[in-house]
Subunit: 456 residues, 2 copies
């Protein structure tokens, strides 16, 4: 067996040329998304009012296993991909574990995360359709930054609604987006009808992703030549993000390493879905087995404490409904919660895979997450994003279990991004001012009451 | 000829195992550094009071061409090196130039710059000598961050004096350093004698590198088991940074590319010196020829408008004197100046190479630099550090000249780091609030008057 380097970089010609659509291998498919007006499955024609046509097609297609990645997108990928698969030798040594730890590092680009993988695809299809621009929401800011970069590359207008608490915590994120030519508006804003209503109903709200989505959708549908794009949750996004898992698998295969465990953080499911897709496909086809673990914040526990039901994808209830693990579209995580992973639901694909037992889920508290993040930063030399650090925490836990049992498991996790714009949260942690907030059962019950009455 | 990928990554086993000391190939050596008390060349014994012994040896050795890189340092390098040599296909296309543009990207690590290459070496030797900790200064913050990471890796205490205006402009830099366990103090501070004096003499000063150096040296020499380390200017630093140039040359050689032009930004000279060393060595040995261009800020023009003379390396006049291109140790760049490259002098090695005509120098204004930075960010997908953008500006200028002449030159430049912590400056630029300040001849004359009277 070849000696495994600290960083496995595939050659450019080893990069995936197709995205993988895990739905094609699912016998039981994710439930169709529904038109919020009729509660009937959304048609391609209806969906094309919100999304670009090509993306609407990808969204609805649960049969085609592979989609060619257009050359223009592959050229853009070459600017920052292949992303390295890192063997965490230093972390292993620090933990004194017999486990072999690998992480797929998606933070080596200016957007600071994996979000660019889908942003460039969505911008490309928008440009191809001759649109003027796109609108979107952003939470922690990675998606907005990624989309700004992608739009700038294809010379598209980019309007970003940024969850207000992130906008305030991360002024520099806004400047990166502006440097790439985007307009950034804190959400809820007074620009849109839905924003004004939410501001009226919840004065002083720090916002939520669901609410920012509603604003961005309204902005897209009320401007000629604009469409809405979204950085997570959607099946099209998971399709684009499959590039993470495909590269990871190719890198492991190149060195003859069989993963035992695959761990990813889960907010809307874009990174997790992308990372695990090819592995889940093997499980679904009966070719291999893996322990797949989704890690979510204890403060926003859609999988571990949510219900599997049709729900609105946005607070304003203008988007199609999806069947997913959800806390209810009215759920807004405590202001105490730092960083992303604040969406009330979970991608319908990940939800269905979870429901079928292809993966398990675990929740962790943010002080534990920052403890793991700091420890990781010190030995691996990368300051991780708070989101990514959820996966780090569980990977470290599992590596320590291996230390007890003596098993030399191959643990693979997704390091989705860097924390350079999360220093307000790190400062809180450094100053011992960070606390945890776990919603009570009563709070969740109240939030579940916002669920629509749709037969599942 | 092999097709050139977007990013050339050397294999780990192609990484340099030795640093290259360009002084060994210089017939006329840089002038010796002088003891500030006696004005005689500093002895190894004297220097060992300030620096670790091994580093003091490296500092004084102008004969040995190669130094082995210790295995512990090479292991650390593997966490973030080899750094990619990027072919700027997108920038070339944007500029419609026949030139081939390459940049060595040193920003793919959490310190955000090349500074980590020397930080880890200096921390290693400090640890090996059994020291408790080190003190240092930092300007823009990259060096302090790099040193914090390196000290954390080797479990050394790290005390950083940060130039006050950077400390205020970059609060998040401080948090990254703290996350890695460093103590960060704005300079001039009231902690040291020299800091108190400078504060008294120049109330409200925003500080300077020279002043922060004096504070850090005082802190090191007044604590048992501490030594002072420095991120630029010193010949030992240029030695460690030669890893940049060696990798660049190895990557170019691998693809049969002969550089015509090598461009680097120049503050104290660490990146420039490291990048150009192996190329300058070839020129000195008569083996090849290259156009080497040092780019400095018009607001701190040590090479283009300074004098070549012995000067103090620090405002407090406690460090050895070096013969260098300098504006005088009393020079403090206008508060208008953003980012690093604010040192009053230039590494004695780079100065001597410049004096011998091995390289030329050029100065650029900061609004031009940020214009180039933004254009680069949009097409190459990397938000560059203001410092690095000085090199980008001149590389773009040269590529545009090629467009006029039709020459397909190979232009190589150093992209030393990322600008994620420079968003205050980007914001100024985005808001059209950035201006330029070029010191007048009278101001420089006044500053030259602070030069010591030493025979050159």
């Amino acid at each position: 067996m070849k000696e495994i380097p600290y960083k496995i970089y595939l050659e450019e010609n080893e990069m995936p040329t197709q995205w993988y659509n895990v739905r094609a291998d699912m016998k039981k498919k994710p439930a169709p998304i529904l038109n919020p007006a009729t509660l009937e499955p959304v048609t391609l024609e209806e969906l094309s009012h919100i999304f670009c046509e090509e993306l609407a097609k990808q969204e609805l297609d649960d049969q085609t296993p592979y989609f060619d990645i257009p050359e223009e997108i592959r050229n853009f990928y070459r600017m920052y991909r292949p992303a390295p698969l890192v063997r965490a030798y230093c972390l292993e040594k620090k933990l004194q574990t017999p486990a072999h730890i690998y992480y797929k590092f998606e933070g080596n680009n200016t957007s600071g995360s994996h979000k660019l993988n889908s942003a460039i695809a969505q911008a490309y299809y928008a440009k191809k359709q001759g649109l003027k621009g796109v609108t979107t929401e952003t939470g922690a800011g990675q998606w907005g930054t990624a989309l700004s970069m992608a739009c700038s590359y294809f010379d598209l207008d980019c309007q970003v609604y940024m969850v207000k608490c992130s906008y305030e915590q991360k002024p520099f994120r806004r400047e990166v987006m502006r440097t790439y030519g985007a307009q950034v508006t804190p959400s809820p804003s007074m620009n849109t009808k839905v924003g004004r209503e939410i501001n009226k109903q919840f004065p002083g709200t720090t916002g939520s992703l669901g609410c920012a989505i509603s604003e961005a959708v309204e902005a897209a549908t009320s401007q000629e030549g604009y469409r809405y794009v979204l950085g997570s949750v959607l099946t099209q996004v998971l399709l684009h993000q499959s590039v993470i898992g495909l590269e990871t698998k190719a890198a492991l295969d190149k060195y003859g390493v069989k993963a035992d465990m695959i761990i990813g953080c889960a907010g809307g499911g874009s990174n997790l879905g992308g990372l695990i897709s090819p592995f889940a496909g093997e499980i679904l086809r009966g070719e291999a087995n893996y322990d797949i673990i989704a890690v979510e914040p204890a403060s926003c526990p859609s999988m571990t404490r949510g219900v599997y039901a049709y729900d609105f994808c946005d607070t304003g209830k203008v988007c199609p409904l999806a069947k997913m693990y959800t806390l209810g579209s009215g759920f807004i995580p405590s202001a105490n919660h730092s960083g992303g992973l604040r969406y009330h639901g979970m991608s319908s694909v990940v939800s269905e895979l979870y429901d079928q037992g292809i993966l398990t889920a675990r929740s962790v508290t943010q002080t534990d997450v920052f403890k793991a993040a700091t420890e990781f930063a010190k030995v691996e030399g990368i300051l991780p994003a708070p989101e990514s650090s959820h996966a780090i925490k569980v990977a470290m836990d599992e590596a320590l279990k291996c230390k007890e049992t003596g098993e030399a498991k191959n643990i693979v996790f997704g390091l989705t991004g860097t924390g350079y714009f999360d220093m307000v949260a790190y400062q809180k942690f450094n100053d011992n001012e960070m606390s945890d907030y776990i919603p009570t059962d009563e709070e969740l019950q109240k939030s579940f009451s916002t669920l629509p009455k749709v037969e599942n």
